[in-house]
Amino acid sequence: MTLSGRFVLLLALGVVPVVLFGLDTVAATGVLLLWLLVVFVLGALDLVLAASPRAVTVERMLPARVRLGESVTSELYLTNTGRRRLVGVVRDAWQPSAGAGHNRSRVVIPSRERRLVSLTLTPFRRGERRVEQVTVRSRGPLGLWNRQATLNAPGRIRVLPPFHARKHLPSRITRLKELDGRTSVMVRGQGTEFDSLREYVRGDDVRSIDWRATARRNDVMVRTWRPERDRRVVILLDTGRTSAARVDNEPRLDTAFEASLLLAALTSVAGDRVDFLAFDRRVRGRVQGASGAALLSQMVDSMALIEPELIEMDWAAVPGQVRSITSQHALVVVLTSVDAAGASTGLLSVLPQLTKRHTVVVASVLDPATVLAAATRGGRDEIYRAAAAERALLDVARVSAAIRRLGADVVTASPEQLPPALADRYIALKAAGRL
């Protein structure tokens, strides 16, 4: 039961009769008591005559998924099974981050009829956004007192990572296709595969002339090459405490999602097999053996629920995890943070095990604010700030050098630049036949 503003106003109007007819204290008190009685009787009458909100049944229609930043419509069907006409307000109690905005809707439902309440959801956080309950407030005919009940109507919607980096995809696919059908003049490496034979044109490397074919065809033939296919790519995501840090107001983890989605999209186009693993002390998300369209949808689906865990990454378990995915040679892309030397000892200690068997790329977000601070020299404080930023950059450089010495590759870039930079590094490795 709740009161309305109208009831409060009606109660306050009692001042008029009390002043007009209350000549002395006793008469005024009598008038007051009479007014209170009238008002409360009216309120109780209103309450009795209001339609029961308990007689409402709720059905919900929700899309299962939405990409972050996009809007969907949540549909709520309310059926009044009672005998009275229900006039009131409905609150669909979505979590705030579901972006429901003003979630109170006025409804009028005649007896035995159904009405639709639709709400536009624009979630502003990744993950699973939930709604558990719907509250119905039924107004009496006088609008003085309301009946209110909360109905269980659970629903949830999965908010997927936005994948803004897909704008880089067409250009990278074009570059990937350019690798196809090249002669060995431009691309040469042990890993490249034999593609086809074609006639020699001026400029081709004479070393790629296939003499046996030339003898058969009475024309000089050269072999062409194409990048290898069906290689393994393992994307390993560090979801430990360092992934919670925000760079450019985006958690490192979300940047890593963008980068791994772009890489996975590119890799599946190139014909390689991608396995995805999100790990800190235990596996938070895993996509294995998927390809084509299913790969990306499975990846965003599993990423949607991953949040940074405030625990230290267990690097010692990483080689075992990679071995459980593949025992062949693979490109292992580790998306983590390359920071101070002390924080990176875990990574450095297990890198030799990985590089012995695999090609390893360590990708990390570089804070643009640090780069900017290192170049800003104004007053005394800014110089100290520049010195601290320079020290941080030197740390990154030192750790990067150590990683390179251990045989792995390092990609560092700002949050917007990391996904294309990682894709470029993949294309470069592929062109070099190092997969």
């Binding site: 009161l3 308990r54 609150r91 696919i173 940074p308 005394r380 450089a397």
Partner: protein, 442 residues
């Protein structure tokens, strides 16, 4: 190909139509009134029980409370006088308890006794004078100066009795029956020229000090008994010595007794009429109504539209916080050389890359190379890059600016199309072009 891939990546957002929610049986989370009462019945009963116990406890303890006015006729504490009043009632005396002069006026008859004990001196002289004329017998306990002035102007205070025994030794019958009183109380003094026939003193402590003085009102003929010691008649002392006999003798002379303890109501009113008299009668009810309106408005606004919805919030940590912290540490401890070293190492590495030496090039090579490109003296370059030690913040800032200038000048010098002299020396030194963006494009 890219188009199909785009549609693949869009696919999750287009997946829709998955219906969640039951058809029909929606459960209600809000308990019904009956269920609510059933669930909270224990607490309701417990609260009611505690309330009942508290009320009973207050009622019971209220009966034995020691608080109360001294010599009040309904006070059972040691300071009260209920014992005396009850004995008088058993003897057939009608005792009326009065708390204002108006009540005394209404209760007093032609043959009444008035008992007065004005502990806080509420009565003024005229009221005391009127009281003295009202009844045939008036007993004033512990009279103050005003009372003496009004009732017996010749009687004064005699101080505390120093006598060990107080014996009646006078013509008053009640005093004679009492024979002896509790010694050590206050006394009154009668002027030594005992020629005044209207004054009688009993229980003498000295030649002029007495513990009971009777005065005859010369206009009405009424007898006024002045008892200076207030402790004689209280519950604690009434049974000692002849106190009870004196009290019964003085107060039981007539059939009706008015037991009068003045209160605030006896104070004469002065000044303008009070606020309560000036306000109209409806003001208090309107205030009550407004209070109720405020309460109702609070309920109106505070009523929650269903339960709160919980949400787990993400951790928000800025990645640059360690950098900012380190900068503040540098600044607080004035670590000029350490800060400058960080800047220098970064600058040397960038310079080494700019002039085409590796990241691991020796410092001397870098200095020589940079001096060559920029045309500056090697000593000067060395001073900026390693030599100078900043002694003050101004020097630190100057060195930082010099570092930036050196980097800028080197950058200008190694760019294609710069001064021919620099180009010539660059070609001599070997690699000249700045390394392009790291890429392995074919």
């Amino acid at each position: 190909m890219s188009a199909t891939l785009g549609s693949q990546t869009d696919a999750p957002a287009l997946l829709s139509g998955a219906a969640v929610g039951a058809a029909g049986g929606t459960t209600v989370a809000t308990p019904t009134l009956r269920a609510l009462l059933g669930r909270s019945s224990f607490w309701v009963i417990a609260a009611a029980g505690i309330l009942a116990i508290a009320i009973v406890a207050v009622l019971v303890s209220g009966g034995t409370q020691a608080a109360g006015r001294a010599l009040a006729g309904d006070n059972v504490s040691p300071a009260g006088s209920m014992a005396l009043v009850e004995v008088l009632r058993q003897q057939g005396v009608t005792v009326t308890l009065a708390s204002s002069l108006a009540e005394v006026r209404a209760a007093v008859g032609t043959d009444s006794t008035v008992f007065l004990y004005d502990e806080n001196s509420y009565l003024d002289q005229s009221q005391l004078g009127e009281l003295g004329d009202l009844a045939a017998h008036t007993v004033v306990v512990a009279p103050d100066f005003l009372a003496l002035q009004a009732l017996a102007p010749t009687v004064g205070f005699g101080g505390v009795s120093e006598s060990d025994t107080l014996t009646a030794d006078c013509s008053v019958p009640a005093a004679n029956r009492a024979e002896e009183l509790t010694p050590g109380g206050d006394t009154l003094s009668i002027p030594p020229d005992a020629g005044n026939p209207l004054l009688t003193g009993c229980f003498a402590s000295g030649t002029t000090t007495f513990s009971l003085v009777q005065v005859q009102n010369d206009s009405t003929g009424g007898i006024i008994s002045l008892v200076p010691d207030a402790d004689l008649f209280n519950n604690e002392n009434i049974a000692h010595y002849g106190n009870a006999a004196l009290a019964l003798g003085l107060l039981g002379l007539s059939d009706s007794l008015v037991w009068y303890l003045p209160t605030l109501a006896d104070l004469p009113r002065t000044g303008p009429p009070s606020l309560a008299e000036l306000t109209p009668g409806w003001v208090t009810p309107v205030l009550v109504l407004l209070m109720l309106v405020a309460v109702a408005a609070a309920f109106w606004r505070a009523a929650r539209f269903g339960p709160l919805v919980a949400e787990n919030l993400p951790v928000t940590v800025k990645a640059s916080e360690t950098m900012e912290g380190r900068a503040r540490l540098y600044a607080r401890s004035n670590a000029r050389l350490r800060a400058l070293d960080a800047l220098r190492v970064g600058a040397v590495q960038r310079l080494a890359l700019a002039v085409g030496l590796g990241r691991l090039a020796h410092l001397d090579e870098v200095i020589g190379s940079v001096a060559h490109f920029t045309g500056r003296a090697p000593d000067e370059v060395r001073r900026v890059l390693v030599g100078a030690i900043p002694e003050s913040d101004a020097q630190l800032m100057a060195l930082s600016d010099a570092l930036q200038a050196l980097e800028h000048a080197t950058g200008q010098a190694v760019q294609p199309g710069s001064a021919p002299a620099a180009r010539a020396s660059a070609s001599v030194s070997g690699e000249s072009s700045p390394p392009p963006a790291e890429r392995m494009d074919p």
